[in-house]
């Protein structure tokens, strides 16, 4: 089974075939070999003959072909490593910036940037970026996808993905000489040799397909544009809910009718002669912060509604109720501390820790330029200082302007504690030196 005998056994190619072809339209010579070992030997011969623009084709990778063809090791692993490390750094940076910088998240007492908990996501990002690089890098370095190829026009070449083995020398090889290559292939034991003419079919995409792709692209743009428009314009039309999202719930609102009860009302009136638990308010000064006038009956369950058209604070208007001016509770140190605690929980987010109207919520709202945001009142300002304690209490209870009432969240004792603390805050900003205890005043003087 010498290479020569193989050539003689299958004299499929004639020398004339090659000679007839005008050399300009030939892009290389293709030869078929009977198996992987023959192909390997041929590749070595072609390499030793000094050809560089060569290639071998087989249905599966052949061990040793890289050496036989003189293929240099690919740099793909290096690219993947670099991208993987970049992915690692990028993943960590992303988590750090999102959870510790841009919007700090405090979760289960862990530090804002807690490395152990950031490892899993970082790892996944490394794998994802590296895997895409390995795949796309392989395609890119191989010049794929490549729909048109002169070799594909050879009917015989189709077998390369089945059971055929081919060797190819390109015409633009510096040493290329059609005749010599053909002879070399024959010497190497080729069972079939032929020139590969340059591709006659156009390699560019047909216009129709281009057009179709363009139309598809344009259509694909429509939904994002519609979303963009919907998000940046206003509309009079009622909202259309794809998902109800608990917007419409099956309960009755106040003042609505209901078939359930004989009187047709959804709201249930209070049973005559009863007071709901916790609604028995004996001491008006303590519970309301003002003494109700003779004319309005003090409602037991619903304190006086917030005065919608409240005049400017500090100037007591004629229609204002009779606010208490003295604390109806005993003022103690522990009450003050309670007040500080509750103030910092309920009030400080908007009014700020010092009550100057600079709480974090307010700052964030202003930073986001929320158009409907009304800056909270500066509690240290003279108008508030001038308010009687009962009025401040009433504000906490029922709210004022955009601020809602806190009666549901804060029990009356704590409301008074807060009022006391607000008074302390006001005092802290307007105190004279004489009012400060001796030792603390000394410290202040030293600072000056």
């Amino acid at each position: 089974m010498t290479p020569l005998s193989a050539t003689l056994l299958e004299p499929e190619t004639t020398q004339q075939d090659v000679a007839d072809e005008p050399s300009g339209s030939v892009c290389g010579v293709l030869a078929e070999f009977s198996g992987p070992k023959e192909l390997l030997r041929a590749a070595e011969m072609v390499r030793d003959a000094g050809y560089t623009k060569t290639d071998a084709f087989s249905p599966f990778p052949i061990h040793g072909m890289d050496d036989a063809l003189g293929i240099k090791s690919t740099i793909l692993p290096v690219i993947v490593l670099v991208v993987g490390l970049t992915g690692c750094a990028g993943g960590l940076l992303m988590q750090w910036w999102m959870n510790a910088v841009d919007y700090p998240f405090l979760i289960s007492g862990k530090p804002l940037f807690s490395l152990p908990a950031n490892i899993p996501v970082t790892f996944e990002i490394i794998v994802l970026t590296s895997a895409f690089t390995a795949f796309l890098g392989m395609l890119g370095l191989n010049g794929l996808p490549k729909p048109a190829n002169p070799l594909f026009e050879q009917e015989r070449f189709r077998g390369v993905t089945d059971n055929k083995f081919f060797m190819y020398v390109a015409a633009d090889d510096p040493k290329y000489d059609g005749q010599e290559v053909v002879e070399l292939f024959h010497r190497a034991g080729a069972t079939w040799v032929d020139d590969v003419p340059n591709s006659t079919s156009p390699s560019r995409l047909p216009g129709a397909i281009k057009m179709a792709l363009l139309v598809l692209f344009a259509i694909a743009l429509v939904p994002p544009l519609m979303i963009y428009r919907a998000r940046h314009t206003t509309s009079e039309a009622p909202r259309f809910d794809f998902f109800p999202d608990m917007d419409a719930q099956r309960y009755r609102s106040a003042q609505q009718s209901s078939d359930l009860f004989a009187d047709g009302r959804a709201m249930r009136p209070q049973v005559a002669g009863t007071i709901a638990v916790g609604d028995f308010h004996e001491n008006d000064a303590f519970f309301l912060g003002y003494i109700p006038g003779e004319d309005d009956e003090a409602p037991a369950d619903e304190p006086a509604p917030a005065d919608a058209a409240a005049p400017a604070a500090g100037a007591p208007a004629a229609n204002e109720p009779d606010y208490v001016t003295e604390f109806p509770v005993e003022v103690t140190e522990s009450l003050m501390q309670r007040g500080q605690l509750k103030f910092n929980i309920y009030c400080a987010p908007c009014h700020g820790l010092a009550g100057q109207g600079d709480g974090l919520v307010s700052l964030r709202a202003i930073e986001l330029q929320q158009p409907t945001w009304v800056p909270p009142t500066n509690l240290i300002s003279p108008p508030v200082v001038a308010q009687p304690v009962g009025k401040i209490y009433d504000t906490i209870t029922n709210g004022r302007r955009k601020m809602s009432g806190y009666a549901a969240q804060i029990p009356p004792e704590d409301r008074w504690a807060i009022v006391l603390y607000v008074r302390a805050l006001q005092k802290s900003q307007h105190a004279s030196l004489e009012e400060i205890p001796e030792d603390k005043a000394a410290v202040l003087k030293n600072q000056k």
């Binding site: 692993p77 007492g109 152990p116 908990a117």
Partner: protein, 478 residues
């Protein structure tokens, strides 16, 4: 690939000279080992284990229990805390005990245990580190042999004998467990706090674990562990050596059929060995993955030792060119893979305990994160996982003998650091290894090497008539 026949040349003269040389090595390492162990014991007993208060008020990682108690004592004696600098902790403890008694913080007891142990305790701890270290290397070897048989591997035949010898050494290694078991049976509790009669009285958890953690059952279990390993190790080695003489294929069958059952027994024994010898050092602590953790570190150490042994034997001329770059490449891949696996297990254990943040579990990590132990923890993270990961990731570094020697030595050291980090924080506040640790390590390793060489001296270094030897000789990485 066919027709690749390999003749193992046999030269009686050369063989005799090698044997003599081997005997010299055995004597030398055995003597070195025993001398070092003796020195370690003496130094340990003389130097004692008591530590002093050193700059704890400057360091942010000083043990909180100590800082708190020194402040209490200073307050009671109306002195500045600086006055306590340099005084032995035991002295402070005595004062604190007298002044405050029951009011001392609960961590104080534990801290005291770790900081004022005797020199005997320190020696025992250092010995335990060295002992579990060499046992893990042999277990790595045993695992390697079992896996090769289970998977019917052909590539590894030329390096399998080394692993077989390491595995068979587990039988004499059982003797090295005596310095741990005998004191325990005599009622000692320097190493294992759970044997402290006082704690058994007072500590509810230790009492709860008493049916498992008691000297008698501990000894029985140790006998079972070493019995199983000695059986597996010598079974595999004797069969393999018998094949050297007869070439009987049936022997391969018998090794292959015991391997799966052997793996099952291996998994159970290694797991509970790690629980008993290492996890129970902190008798309150528990981690279900701990056995896997010890196992993964052991495989890394075992592979590193195999690579080093192989290269050394080739340099000595005992092994010829049968072991090629291709085999080293594969061993390097396994080393890389199992080191990553160790990292995976270590991270899983840490993350779950860190995240759930339950005090009964976090205490174990807490004492490894203060007073300088942080540096050792970070050394493990970088030195055991990340740096070798990058070092071994490239194909070239796994095929180059020099780089393999470097990384194998590196990982062996790191594996020892790992065990040191597992054991010593229970006994020492300071992370620095002392002379005792190093002497104990050299001592136990010396004895171990002598045992390995003695086991090896009874036969060939290569399974010369294994049916898959040709496959292994012709093996080529794709």
């Amino acid at each position: 690939m066919t027709g690749h026949h390999h003749d193992i040349s046999f030269d009686p003269e050369r063989d005799r000279s090698l044997r003599d040389k081997g005997a010299q090595y055995i004597r030398a390492s055995l003597i070195t080992g025993l001398v070092c162990l003796g020195l370690a014991l003496v130094i340990g007993l003389i130097a004692g284990g008591s530590s002093q208060i050193d700059g704890i008020f400057e360091s942010s990682t000083a043990p909180t229990a100590l800082v708190g108690v020194v402040e209490l004592v200073a307050d009671a004696e109306n002195q500045d805390v600086a006055a306590y600098e340099g005084r032995p902790i035991s002295e402070i403890a005595a004062v604190a005990e007298k002044e405050f008694g029951e009011e001392l913080p609960p961590q104080w007891e534990e801290f005291l245990h770790r900081s004022t142990g005797s020199g005997w305790q320190r020696f025992q701890a250092s010995y335990l580190v060295a002992f579990t270290f060499v046992v893990s290397l042999s277990l790595g070897g045993l695992f390697f042999v079992l896996i090769q048989h289970v998977t019917r591997a052909g590539w590894s035949v030329v390096v399998r004998r080394i692993a077989e010898i390491m595995a068979a050494t587990l039988a004499p290694l059982a003797l090295l467990s005596l310095p741990i078991i005998i004191p325990l049976l005599l009622g000692g509790h320097a190493l294992f706090e759970w044997n402290n009669p006082q704690l058994i009285e007072t500590d509810e958890l230790i009492r709860h674990k008493r049916p498992y953690l008691n000297p008698g059952f501990f000894t029985i279990r140790s006998i079972i562990y070493f019995g199983v390993w000695a059986f597996l190790g010598s079974f595999l080695l004797t069969r393999s050596r018998a094949q050297d003489k007869t070439g009987d294929v049936q022997l391969t069958h018998s090794m292959q059929s015991i391997a799966p059952v052997g793996l099952l027994a291996f998994a159970l024994t290694v797991n509970f060995f790690a629980f008993d010898y290492l996890m129970s050092l902190a008798p309150h602590w528990f981690s279900a993955i701990y056995g896997v953790y010890y196992f993964s570190g052991g495989v890394v150490g075992g592979l590193a030792m195999m690579i080093l042994a192989c290269l050394w034997l080739q340099r000595e001329g005992v092994l010829g060119d049968e072991v090629t770059t291709e085999h080293y490449h594969d061993l390097g891949k396994l080393l890389f893979g199992f080191n990553f696996f160790w990292g995976y297990i270590a991270f899983s254990q840490y993350l779950l305990i860190w995240y759930a943040n339950i005090p009964e579990e976090t205490g174990w990590f807490l004492i490894r994160q203060e007073n300088g132990w942080t540096a050792v923890s970070l050394l493990l993270l970088f030195g055991h996982l990340l740096i070798p990961f990058l070092g071994l990731i490239s194909r070239q570094s796994r095929r180059n003998p020099k780089s393999l020697i470097f990384w194998s030595c590196w990982l062996l050291v790191m594996h020892w650091v790992d065990l040191y980090w597992n054991v010593l924080p229970q006994f020492s506040v300071s992370p620095w290894p002392g002379l005792v640790d190093l002497l104990a390590l050299v001592g136990v390793c010396g004895v171990y090497v002598a045992l390995v060489l003695r086991t090896a001296s009874q036969g060939a270094w290569l399974p010369i008539r294994d049916p898959r030897l040709n496959e292994s000789l012709a093996f080529h990485n794709v």
